[in-house]
Structure formats: C-alpha cells, structure tokens
Symmetry: C2
Subunit: 337 residues, 2 copies
C-alpha cells in the first residue's frame, strides 16, 4: 500500500490557540518530471478536478477547431474556466455557442446559482432563476461542444466517458501527465463529465509540460502557448471577481498560469522555469488554498513582496468576526523540502 502522508499546511488561530488545521500535499516538478520541491507525499492520489480544464481545452486548439470557428482569446480563456457566473462569463460562453451555431440548451452541465454572490443576489432580486450558463463549468462544456460539432459527433451524449470527445480529453490529460489513459481512475465531476484521478506529482508534471511544451508535436506546442496567452490575457474569465486564480494572474501578468480545482486543488505553470506546481488541501477546504499557494510561491521566490502585498486578501492573515474585529489569523505552517 502506498504511503499517503499529508503535512500541516495551514493553521487557523483564534487568540493564542490554533483552532483548526488544514493538511495537504504540495509538489513542484520540472518538465522532465523531476521533483523540485515538495511538502507531504507527492504520490498522494486524488482528483485533479477543474485544474484539468487547460488540458481539456488543448484539443480544441490543436485540432484546428478554434481557428475554424474563429475563437477569440477571450473565448479560449473561458473554455478553461471555473467561472463565477458573472455577466461577462455568461456573455462569452454565449458567444462561443453562437459561433458554433448552438444554444445553451445543448449544455448538459447542470445548473447552480452564480458563485459570485452579488450576481446570485442580482438574479434573486430580479426574480430570475440561474441557468446552465451560470454553471461554473459552462465554458468547459462549450469547449466539448465545439469539438463535438467540429467532428460531427453526437451532440446529445457528449458528457459520457465513451463519447469520442471525452476519450480525446482523457488522452490529452494522460499525455500531459505522462500516464496511459488506463492508469487514470475516472470519477464523475460536479458537472457530469469524467474527471481524472492522479498523484499530486503528476498534476504538477502536467502543468510543467504546459510551462515547457517543447517536447510536444508542433500543434500541441502551439496550442499550449496560445492557451497560456489566453488565460493570462483574460484572467477574469478563468475564475472571477476576487478569486485567487484570477487575482494571481492579474497581479503577476503572464509569469504564472493558474487554475483552481474543487476540493482544495490548485495548479500553476511557471513558464520561465519550466515548472509545474500542484497543491491539494486534504480536506478540500477553499479557505486554506490561498494562504498555502501564496506561501509556496513565496518560498520558491516566484512572487515579489509587492505582488504578495497585492494578493493580501488571499493570504487573509487576519480573521475578522461579524463585528469586524480581528480575532485570529490563517497562516501557512510548512516549509517546502
């Protein structure tokens, strides 16, 4: 049985006492698969969740579908999104659908209220229900529809593992992670499509290859560069207002390519170093992700003090109560090896 050691990554204090603790694993890997740094056991197995979305968008680009439908950089960015259901997200996903001659009725991602609270409140105040377009995965599903349309596959069951579009995504994810598709345990994501399990180390490796795609065929290399360009040019389309992935790319520009996944997953490409970084909070709690990710970047010397300052909202060192008093802090509690 493989070791699955997790370490304390983040502490939540109140007064002088550590009230709660978040454990997890961090892996930093170069584009040859060599471990550069880590915390906990990089062989920890879990799902990459939505951090797979860049690798699920690559086939749209390398197949020629993106050019065929004249997708803009904005539209490419939203294919990788776990978006907050804000107006611009809904608008850009609709644009994509319109370019392939389909409507929102073809999206099978399911429906939930916008993650962005003011947008959710605005819907309620107007007496409107959320639609599939507000679902955080509607961009990814639109990408799947692009490929399905482009290849003239069946539109009705594009979400099923046996559908060629899902097989294509699995293959691309496997390629980036340096795995065979059959080595990837498959689950079903919140939005109904297959989702991929792998070690945190393999997640990091796939982001290292996105950072340094030289070893891929020219189409995939070009697709990787284009995707990075789109995500860093339109960070607000990748996540949303106040979200870590968005703010990180806004602050550091195209120095880092960042993508979150549910259940405490966060992945980063570092093009200048050819590194990939992957982090999993064992308990899946989002509040630990920001402080842990910023600490990783800080320890690796990948962000400046000024950039860190601009991202202070995500380290949230001070916890406030309902009365706006400071009552504790959330702080990193690890050192990368």
């Amino acid at each position: 049985m493989k070791s699955m050691e997790v370490v304390k990554l983040v502490e939540v204090t109140r007064g002088d006492v550590v009230e709660s603790v978040h454990r997890g694993v961090v892996a930093v890997v170069d584009s040859e698969g060599k471990l550069v740094a880590s915390a906990g056991d990089p062989r920890y197995l879990t799902y990459i969740r939505s951090a797979a979305k860049p690798m699920q968008a690559i086939p749209v680009l390398e197949s020629g579908a993106a050019s065929h439908y004249s997708l803009s950089l904005e539209e490419i960015a939203v294919l990788t999104a776990s978006h907050s259901g804000e107006e611009e997200h809904v608008r850009v996903v609709m644009q994509v659908l319109s370019k392939i001659g389909l409507t929102a009725a073809y999206l099978q991602c399911g429906t939930h209220p916008p993650l962005h609270r003011p947008s959710a409140k605005a819907l309620i105040a107007k007496g409107l229900e959320p639609t599939v377009l507000h679902c955080s995965c509607s961009g990814k599903h639109a990408g799947m529809l692009i490929l399905t349309r482009f290849n003239e596959w069946n539109l009705d069951d594009y979400y099923k593992l046996e559908h060629p579009v899902q097989q294509l995504m699995l293959q691309c994810m496997a390629d980036f992670a340096g795995l065979n598709p059959e080595e990837i345990p498959i689950g079903i994501d919140g939005c109904g499509v297959p989702v991929f399990a792998m070690t945190v180390e393999k997640m990091a490796f796939s982001y290292a290859r996105l950072a340094q795609p030289e070893s891929f065929a020219p189409e995939r290399k070009e697709a990787s560069l284009k995707l990075r360009e789109a995500m860093t040019a339109y960070p607000s389309l990748v996540a949303g207002t106040g979200r870590l992935a968005t703010d990180l790319m806004k602050v550091v520009g195209n120095k880092l390519v960042a993508k979150d996944g549910a259940e405490g997953v966060f992945c980063i490409s570092v093009p200048a170093k050819g590194w990939g970084i992957a982090l999993k909070i064992e308990d899946g709690h989002t509040r630990a992700v920001g402080p842990a990710v910023i600490a990783v970047l800080d320890q690796l010397g990948l962000i400046t003090g000024e950039e860190k300052e601009l991202l202070a909202i995500h380290t949230r060192t001070e916890l406030q109560n309902f009365r706006k008093e400071v009552i504790g802090e959330i702080r990193p509690a690890f050192t990368l090896k």
Copy 2:
C-alpha cells in the same frame, strides 16, 4: 509538548478514489471524568465555540432571572441557539428582549444573513437587510442581556471579558468542565464575546455533567434539568430547519441533548448514561460533522437503526452533482477505542 494526535474520521469518495479526508478527535466521558471511548487524542486543545451555549444559559436559570422574567421553555431554548435566522428564531428572541424591556438595538452580536437559505433569499426578495436578530448568536446575546438587566449591570459593554456577565459565563463553563477559569484560554467569538478553549475531553466532561448534574448545588442541578427540557422540547429553536442538532433531538426525543459549535465542534449529553460526547473536525468543515456524529452514536449503541434511517440526510452517504447524479459518498472511517 502535549500530543495532539488526530485520526481520520470521515472520507469523501468520488468513483473508486478517496478524494478528500477529514481528521479529528472524539471523546466520550462519564460524569466522573472517566474516558469511556475515544478516537484520536482526547487532549486535543481547541475552542468549544457555540457548544458552550448551554453552559452560558445555565446562569440565566440558576440566578432566578428566568423565573423573574417568566421565560417560557421556548425562550430558554433560544438562549442556547446557534439559530438559522428563521422567522420563529427572530420572533422568540424578540419575545425575550421584550420581557426584559429592551429592543434589538441592545444586541451587540453583529449582523449576517440568515443561515437558513430560504429565509436569506426571502429577505433579499423583499429588499430587506438582515438585522442583529438574524445573527445566529442573537439568543445567546439576549441571555447575556437578561442577566445584565437582572443584576443592573452596564448594558453597553456586556460583551467584554471584564464585564461581570462574561465572568459569570466563564466561571460556569469552568465549573462544568472541571477547570479553573484561568486554565481556559480565551478567544473572541464570531459574535464578539469571549469564547473558551479546552481539550475535547473537557468539552465531553462538561456535557457529561449536564447529563448527570447530581453533584452540583440544587439551583444548578435544577437549571440543568430545565435547560435539557427546553432544548429537547424545542429542538428547532436550538439550530434550525435541516440542521443536525435540531433533527437529532427531533428524532430521538429527550434521549440526547445536542449542540453544535463552529469549526467542526459537536457535543452531546446522554442523560441515561451520564455521558458527554464531544467531537472536533480538525479542519472545521461542517460536512464531516453529521457522518462522524451519527457514526459515534451508532458505535456507542445510542441510536436505533430506525433513528439512523430518519437522520440519513445528515450521514449523506451519497454525494450528488449539479445534475443530481450519485458520484461518490461521505463515509465514516474510524472505530472508537
């Protein structure tokens, strides 16, 4: 340095893979302080948070204030509440304030939207803002105001540690836990009042004494019995619709007295056995509390299969996605020693 060992309490699966894990500590203690059963290290130190509320309501009863103001059982129940801000909660807290001749303006708990989503949505739809009455701690604060009013103390700063009402609460909590007040590290709660740190074992001990209050002075013994009667007679006032503490007491009647606290704390009195049970999820995630608590009660033989069935929504063995498909489960992963 004391050991603070936590163990895996709950696993979250997706497909065939364990995606996330919640660790923590459980202690079951009798009214003499003897450990009956445990998981992890019962000496784990953290805050009891709102699970202290029964011990903070006791002084209202034993002082004679509750009789003086003719508080009903309903009104006593809401003093212990971490309520969901539903209509009945707001109504009963207002009743309490009205009996002591005060208005909501005296509550210094701060404001947040009702935890009960339909109630929060209803406020938005009506264009109304939440008030201090909707704050989950407004009942506890009303209890503090009762004692402050009854003793003619200063009403303006009742929330400060040095105020006599807070000193009274600290002393009562310490008595129940078998500690000296100075052994209890103090933090500030979400609602601005002092909050108490102690080991999970001491939390359990205080609930054991609530279960078996024979060793207390007659006023406190009577107060304990009355409080248990109020909480089990009006479980919906202790938490709210769909909440574990409420549903548990609804299902088992007065067999158990249950109270949740923030950051993954849950405590239970078992009068028939004279036991107290305390549980802390290390990462503070609420989703792990239900499955862990039901598993503890099951392993101790304190709930029947039928009762467990009625509480199925809290064990949430099946996880559904946005499309309402079953994609995994949340399951207990421990055996009490």
